[in-house]
């Protein structure tokens, strides 16, 4: 590829990278999307597909606002994608539940939500604590052991694998150059452009956006940025396809538009993506059966584990380099929820060449130093 062939090179073809690539292409940029190969550690293939608002932002109020913004943008985002590709990502926002299986769990829930919503500067939206009978009105199949739930009307979900495919289809149509098996090993800035050394030769671009998930930790310092990460493994259990029985997502259990039920949300400090702890799957299954006893006889057809992209404090990082102008870093855990923001808000900023401080200043990695000093 000749030097000036790309305005922006994005490193990482997961949900963050591909949503940003699409957004940049819409702004008229010539984009290269560099990715690893088939067996890459890709959270975008292993996530839980929630577009989730409740309980986000305890410890960083701005994150709640950022999340609500994306949740509100999702309907339009999904519609645009459908127009461009004909593919329906099945975004729905019926409101979502977090079920409690004991009074202690319910109290802990209420407590977290209280602290969250009492933070200064927090965006105003509704979450409620419901008791068993209130929950049963909307989720008639819950088990007796469910004592209650928190509920937030802004919560929703999508078909995240179809989202991943739809975005890949859309960037293809919009002329983004997708370069799989181009693992980036070095990045230098020379003569006003970035040279990315990959396993398949050099790629040059005017700007570079790092969206390589946990690998941003190694890549960011190459362009004067930082991304302190703390990867975490999550396991998910998936059932066979069932007739629709559950019309709202639960934070640990949802029925997809295809009919399968996904059960998940474990957290382990392992970074071995190949490993699977059966006892963790067993716990997920055991709680699922207590929450929805009618699932007891249903067949589990797959399990998987994936590594969450997790910054050290759990909040996103959006930053631009002072030493290497034109270099950006994007890291977040909730790449599905925030996809609309990445495509519609962050990508245009990168296209303009500067992050909009009024929106993303709280997410600079500089916050890690402030905390150390304090």
């Amino acid at each position: 590829m000749a030097a000036s062939d790309y305005d922006v090179a994005i490193v990482g073809g997961g949900l963050v990278g591909v949503a940003t690539a699409w957004g940049l292409a819409r702004e008229g940029c010539r984009v290269a999307l560099l990715d690893e190969g088939d067996r890459a550690v890709r959270a975008s293939r292993g996530n839980f597909a929630l577009v989730w608002v409740q309980s986000k932002g305890l410890g960083l109020a701005a994150y709640a606002g950022w999340t609500v913004r994306s949740s509100n943008a999702w309907t339009g985002f999904a519609a645009t994608l459908k127009e461009e590709t004909g593919l329906d990502v099945c975004f729905q926002r019926p409101g979502g539940f977090h079920l409690a299986l004991s009074e202690r769990e319910l109290e802990a829930r209420a407590n977290i939500l209280n602290r969250l919503h009492n933070q200064p500067g927090i965006v105003d939206y509704k979450t409620e604590i419901l008791d068993h009978s209130q929950v049963a009105k909307m989720l008639p199949d819950i088990g007796r052991e469910v004592v209650g739930a928190s509920y937030c009307p802004l919560d929703g979900h999508v078909n995240s694998l179809r989202l991943f495919r739809t975005l890949h289809t859309a960037i293809h149509t919009r002329g983004v150059k997708y370069l799989p098996s181009h693992r980036v090993e070095s990045i230098v800035r020379e003569g006003g452009e970035f040279r990315l050394g990959t396993t398949q030769g050099e790629v040059r671009a005017g700007r570079v956006a790092l969206a390589a998930g946990n690998a941003n930790m190694q890549l960011a310092p190459m362009v004067g940025l930082e991304a302190p990460m703390k990867p975490e493994r999550g396991q998910i259990v998936v059932t066979e396809r069932l007739r629709p029985f559950l019309h709202y997502p639960v934070v640990t259990l949802r029925q997809t538009d295809e009919g399968t039920v996904m059960i998940g949300d474990s957290k382990e400090e392992s970074i071995d993506p190949a490993g699977l702890t059966l006892g963790v799957s067993a716990t997920e299954a055991e709680r699922a059966v207590r929450q929805f006893p009618l699932l007891a006889n249903v067949n589990v057809v797959r399990t998987w584990s994936a590594i969450r992209v997790m910054t050290q404090d759990g909040f996103p990082i959006y930053d631009e380099s002072e030493t290497h102008p034109g270099a950006f870093v994007l890291c977040c855990h909730s790449g599905v929820t925030l996809a609309a923001n990445h495509a519609l808000t962050v990508a245009p900023m990168i296209a303009r060449g500067a992050l909009d401080k009024t929106l993303v200043a709280p997410f600079s990695a500089r916050r890690f130093h402030v905390q150390e000093a304090g």
């Binding site: 066979e240 396809r241 069932l242 007739r243 029985f245 009919g259 009618l294 699932l295 006889n297």
Partner: protein
């Protein structure tokens, strides 16, 4: 379809979608259905197309049926029992059965 090579001594009866089917002790549910002239055992959860046992060795999962009220059982691995109730499975399975 299939026919039996000879009459067998030991016969059980099972019910398939309400119809009585005679089977040999030692038959699997799928074999009994094939011998009983039942031309498909399920419709798919994706397009609703009819499917019948394909491999009879437990790898293809085309033989999924409802046995005694429990869905998605692999008919080619489960031996018949006298009085067993078998139903063809239509589309997606219903949770709870």
């Amino acid at each position: 379809m299939f026919k039996r090579l000879g009459e067998t001594a030991s016969i059980v009866t099972i019910e398939v979608d309400g119809k009585t089917v005679r089977a040999r002790t030692g038959d699997t549910v799928a074999a009994a259905m094939l011998a009983g002239g039942i031309d498909h055992c399920r419709t798919t959860p994706v397009s609703g197309a009819p499917r019948a046992p394909y491999c009879l060795m437990g790898v293809c999962f085309e033989c999924l049926v409802i046995i005694d009220g429990i869905g998605s059982r692999q008919g080619c691995l489960i031996p018949v029992r006298d009085g067993m109730r078998v139903e063809t499975q239509q589309g997606k399975r219903e949770a709870g059965r």
